[in-house]
Amino acid sequence: EDQVTQSPEALRLQEGESSSLNCSYTVSGLRGLFWYRQDPGKGPEFLFTLYSAGEEKEKERLKATLTKKESFLHITAPKPEDSATYLCAAEITKGGSEKLVFGKGTKLTVNP
């Protein structure tokens, strides 16, 4: 069964304290790995797409990396406004169909 698992479920950081979120996947036919940010009461907001092992993408304090089994979202010197739930999703292809399989997310809280 295709699975996407994120850890930790929740993470509390002090402002400026860098850390990483993990997304491990066991899927067949991975086409891409996506990171989204979700604020309370809102829909997910697209951050990154990664397609191949070794690929890295950066946006402000966030950097996403991908290996053959997992992806990391590195947060450097986070600020309180980075507080949100971060979701990863694997795009899988099976029998000609394509869909996104999401993880449960990591709820990040950054304290000032």
């Binding site: 829909g43 697209f46 797409t49 394509e98 869909k99 449960k104």
Partner: protein, 114 residues
């Protein structure tokens, strides 16, 4: 910045009733999706739609569900006879270029089935 708009933001209905959730995708986008998120659970794929037909649907999307693009701007999800387990946040999304590439999500409709 263009955004996906969903109405209503909250919908309360009685079990067995029909509901229609409405979405206005971003105007130049061609691919449309419905996802749902039960409280505390993962975001789950329901259906994708392109060129006026369903491209893909999940096991959740059974005969009680249907989608429609009645005009050039709206995209709707209908649940014919709601069940308690249909209670969830329903998200509409759209993308411009291809399936699943950089989805833009709406803020969701919270559906409560009593």
């Amino acid at each position: 910045e263009p955004e996906v708009t969903q109405t209503p933001s909250h919908q309360v209905t009685q079990m067995g009733q029909e509901v229609i959730l409405r979405c206005v995708p971003i105007s130049n986008h061609l691919y449309f999706y419905w996802y749902r998120q039960i409280l505390g659970q993962k975001v789950e794929f329901l259906v994708s739609f392109y060129n006026n037909e369903i491209s893909e649907k999940s096991e959740i999307f059974d005969d009680q569900f249907s989608v429609e693009r009645p005009d050039g701007s709206n995209f709707t999800l209908k649940i014919r006879s709601t069940k308690l387990e249909d209670s969830a946040m329903y998200f509409c999304a759209s993308s411009e270029v291809s399936y699943n590439e950089k989805l833009f999500f709406g803020s969701g409709t919270q559906l409560s089935v009593l």
